[in-house]
Symmetry: C2
Subunit: 681 residues, 2 copies
């Protein structure tokens, strides 16, 4: 991981981001502590997020609905901060044109885009209970369990990761059973290219390997397609079919002409949109990782198909990323390699510079908000997995307790989207570019004497014109020669012959000048699933102190932490109020979001509660604060405490939150707190 050059190339990142040295410190710490609490305790993690209301099942008091979640105050704030960073990193930095288009979409749009016909998953039905399962998930779960059972039988490992309670109960426990070596190899090959199978092929796998519903052990039927779009109807008559968009992209494409005009007719440019999308998942079971309603952020970058270079590529070309390319997967392996994006583009592994540029920008964004770069890879789509029109496609996959999860897609979709909408609506969706050097061509050109033509040939005139205009250069030259001799004969498809003379037509060499080039731009589409990013970020940030394994700490970078500073008066006594109000007001003025916790419990407990919420800094007001106008500053990850005057501490914490200094630098400014131990950890 070459992180140095990133910061030099993108100096704008630095002032707003958590200083890299500090963030590395935190994630190193998290991984160390995760090791002490190994394996990662997903149950405790989930319970913490639920208890602190990061998110919770929607409609919980009505029994909930699978795949629908509500974000509570810390989850909403974390999401808003991630969006804010996204907006700065992409929209503002690259001058993108932001859009906000509607979710409800008339059927015709998705008929054109191909979603009505093809935006579907393969589902299988349990032949006895009628339960519905996603076919590829069934194959994955059963084969992974069998492999885990095999590893156990060979004395190599414990049970596999389980995704939820139901599986845990019924299917998660692998049966210890040794498999033949060839079977192991076959299963591994299937899993490595699982996304590459068609529906009928998945059905074939179920039959061949006797894959049954893990919940019931019943056989399953043939895979059937299930369209993932939610359907509704628009207007009072019920005649206008509509769908909830499964992505925001179509809203960009349909506004292409307006966007191009807004950009003064020039490409390349990009549109960007953050908004809600909907997918009626067959059987969502993986918490925030597979939901029916989610917030996306999508970019459509429109580029000249003949020139996919990127002016800023040189700034990123040395940055190394972890790649899992198509060839490796199709060979049945999951082995990644680390490579600079420059090398990957030079070798043709990544299709072009613009795609490579965005892959790096995605990488930087994710690492900047706190994703552990060691648990981030870019996986290329395999042949069957990729849409037929796409040139290349890479997913940013983030590792978490359930394995590797696609969190961002980055595809070169060629001219597909604009072409299909243009063909359907008859509206040109093209760029017209004035050529710097007009293209000058000379060619033989028929010149008609319309009057004589009409008089001589009457209703056959059109046929004759068409015949001659369709001729290629050599044939026209031949015709020219014959006409110079006096006359020639052309023959229609149905064998009719027409004698032509120079009175009707002559062939002349003419010069043509083309000064406008017209083309349909290609689209590079980075598409972010914000809920998945939020969830994996929480996992990467979660650990427990050895001194208090029961309680978690969320080491979120300040730039995304829901609350930046917790103000903790020793007690709710009135004498602390003036200082609490002064400090709150000063932090608000400095643009630092703080909260006061004056609840009736020990300072240590209040800090522990806020460690779970990811609050990076705490200011304690005690009895000494009143006469001395001093406060202590506590850092979440180290639990270090420093002391200083109110204004000094506020200035320091503001810089810490803005990322212009790190904790080490803060410690050089403020002495360690060695007074009476008012804060019991």
């Amino acid at each position: 991981m070459r992180l140095g050059p990133i910061l030099r190339s993108f100096p704008h990142i630095r002032p707003r981001s958590y200083p890299l040295v500090h963030r590395r410190h935190s994630s190193d710490m998290a991984s160390v502590v995760n090791k002490t609490a190994h394996p990662f305790d997903k149950a405790r993690f989930d319970a913490t997020l639920n208890r602190r209301f990061f998110y919770a099942p929607a409609f919980e008091i009505y029994g909930g609905v699978a795949g629908l979640y509500d974000y509570g105050p810390p989850g909403s704030a974390l999401q808003a901060n991630i969006i804010d960073q996204w907006r700065k990193h992409f929209i503002i930095e690259e001058g993108m044109l932001e859009l906000d288009t509607t979710i409800m979409t008339p059927s015709a749009v998705f008929e054109t885009s191909g979603h009505v016909a093809r935006f579907a998953d393969w589902m299988v039905k349990d032949t006895k209970t009628g339960d519905v399962l996603r076919a590829d998930h069934l194959v994955k779960n059963v084969l992974e369990n069998r492999l885990a059972g095999d590893r156990e039988a060979r004395g190599l490992a414990a049970a596999p990761p389980v995704e939820d309670k139901k599986r845990k109960k019924k299917a998660g426990k692998a049966t210890t059973l040794k498999l033949d070596d060839e079977v192991v190899k076959e299963y591994e090959t299937i899993l490595a290219q699982l996304d590459n199978y068609t529906g009928p092929e998945l059905g074939e796998l179920c039959r061949k390997h006797k894959l049954t519903n893990p919940d019931t052990d019943n056989e399953v039927g043939e895979p059937q397609q299930f369209n993932l779009m939610f359907q509704s109807s628009i207007g009072p008559t019920g005649q206008h079919k509509g769908y909830l968009r499964p992505e925001t992209a179509q809203g960009h494409f349909l506004n292409f002409n307006r966007l191009l005009d807004y950009n003064n007719g020039r490409v390349p440019f990009a549109s960007a949109q953050i908004g809600r999308s909907f997918r009626n998942e067959i059987s969502p079971r993986a918490g925030l990782l597979r939901v029916r309603e989610f917030t996306m952020a999508e970019i459509e970058h429109y580029v000249d198909p003949d020139d996919k270079s990127h002016p800023r590529f040189k700034e990123v070309r040395d940055i190394a990323i972890v790649l899992l390319d198509r060839d490796v997967q199709e060979a049945g392996s999951s082995e990644t390699r680390v490579m600079s994006v420059g090398e990957a583009v030079d070798k043709g592994i990544i299709a072009n510079e613009t795609l490579g540029y965005f892959i790096v920008r995605i990488y930087l964004f994710l690492v900047n908000i706190g994703i552990n770069p060691k648990r981030l890879r870019f996986r290329q789509h395999m042949a069957n997995e990729m849409a037929h029109y796409a040139t290349d496609c890479w997913d940013a996959e983030i590792h978490n307790a359930t394995g590797w999860t696609e969190c961002v897609g980055c595809a070169d979709r060629a001219a597909y989207d604009l072409s299909v909408h243009s063909a359907k609506t008859g509206q040109p969706l093209v760029v017209r570019q004035a050529l710097k050097e007009p293209i000058v061509t000379e060619k033989e050109t028929p010149e008609w004497n319309k009057k004589n033509l009409g008089k001589l040939f009457k209703k056959d005139a059109a046929v004759i014109t068409q015949l001659v205009e369709a001729l290629d250069e050599p044939s026209l030259l031949k015709l020219k020669g014959e006409l110079a001799q006096g006359s020639t004969v052309v023959k229609s498809e149905d064998g009719k012959e027409f004698a032509l003379t120079p009175e009707v037509v002559t062939i002349e060499r003419k010069v043509f000048k083309q000064s406008i080039r017209e083309f349909t731009p290609n689209v590079i589409e980075p598409s972010f699933g914000l809920g998945r990013i939020l969830y994996t970020l929480l996992e990467h940030s979660f650990w427990s102190r050895e001194s208090d394994v029961e309680r978690g700490v969320l080491s979120l970078p300040p730039v995304v932490a829901p609350t930046k500073v917790l103000i903790v008066p020793l007690s709710a006594r009135e004498e602390f109020n003036p200082l609490v109000q002064e400090i709150s007001a000063k932090l608000r003025k400095a643009g630092v979001f703080s909260r006061v916790d004056d609840s009736n419990t020990s300072i240590g407990k209040r800090y522990a509660r806020n460690d779970e919420l990811g609050t990076p800094f705490g200011l304690t007001i005690d009895f000494a604060s009143i006469p001395n106008r001093t406060v202590t500053l506590r850092e979440r990850d180290t639990t270090d405490q420093r002391i200083g005057s109110i204004d000094e501490v506020i200035a320091t914490v503001t810089e810490l939150v803005d990322g212009t200094i790190d904790w080490e630098e803060a410690c050089q400014r403020l002495p360690a707190y060695d007074g009476v131990q008012a804060v019991a950890e």
Copy 2:
């Protein structure tokens, strides 16, 4: 309008808002100029917004869908800035708990809330064409047209405002016809209380006044209810009916227990949410004012039903607002009165302090982002208009080309929402409050000897216990006296008699102490339609210079303006690039959003284009800038130009955007630009 005290009461507003004196200046100017261009030219205004892509009909290249709009770059940015201000003004200032809940909602929730049964509008069908119209809109349009025709006949006024092209063509032109004075009075009375009619009453009005479809002149049928929720189904089996939420409120109520817990069990507190909602409007025709998909911001403030005072009410009580109360409307008038909110609460016109507090906070928010206070009023709901459970309800109505439009609602919904969900789900949604002083009561209490009771009465024991426990205090005292005498007789409902003795039961006086009070909080709900606010704000900001009537100017306050600063190099020549980049970077660092316009057109044209986009400041880089390091600063509303060093101008423009200084103050710092007139206006 007493604006002075506002700023003293809410000092936080000042630093981030446009200085009041400047904003007043702008809106005064706008109204002056609107007068010169009187009447307001809606067609030019709409054309400008469309051309600059503030918003446009969604799916335009597919022919569009009524009531669905996409926001382009300036519209998205304006919306994002309004949301940002809303978040600061409400969520941060009042420490509200933000939520982000799902749009897709299972049917059961809206069955409980009453939306499935009652969230409907009355529609009528054209008896010949089958066209569907909203019944109240039909009444309004036809009566307003007749009144306009009458005014014309009396020589009093021109044609009425028209809402769209279709109406303009067919129905917008009022027939000049004088009406009887009583008829005029009757029509005016109907219009003043239009929102108070039931469906059958609207039908009656159509028959009585012979109201026909203005597009066809055909009669219409009886009003029928049409539910405004979009319906869908969740999951692959199609068995789970769902609706798209028509408001965000239910997501708050269902999470009440989690929110209360997050707030350490204390009330009052508020939850807040910004998100998309959907209403399948019958016949949306009024642009952004009536749409099928829209962004809302809603607050649910939970308060003790016995104490609706507000701790900060004293800060706002002297602020005067324009009120149109219930009694006035029910008397058939639309006359408003200006009153301080303190007086309105004291007189019982506004039901309580908390409701009054939010009404003022709404007022301040709207004026702060640029709504003209002279075109803002608070209208109280009439008896039939208000939900049966609500205590009081006020709409913030903003005046615009179509009349007065509800943009914010503010209702005291009592305990309705929490009560119905609690009753349906069996989950208590209550606050448990430790009483400071426990409530001590003494009462006569039966004490049973269970052993003897069972032995003597066997299966009748339960009946006897029930009979005695149900007695009131005097009866228990009588029983006590009889038992003291040796025995008594109790009689069951079916006439059976039981003789009781002190061996079975005695009556004793006991002391009870209640230390917990349990109650369902009441809900005060301010609910904002952001699209309507955005649209009316654009109308209030739009005017034209006398020197260039064809082009508009949008005098948006910098705090919400899509772009704050336009950087204008004299030309796209490379020599200007270093300065352009330096200034862009410095503004970005200062947190000021700028754009560069180096397109190949005159500076005057570029400024005019950005006046239409509402960009408040422009920095011009000319040939003098290179040797002197000076730039000129141009203010949008006055077109004043000042000059200064790059750093001076950047510091000044940053303060202007932050609202810490106004243009007058800026002019004291920077001298007027009197050099060569590089900028042709």
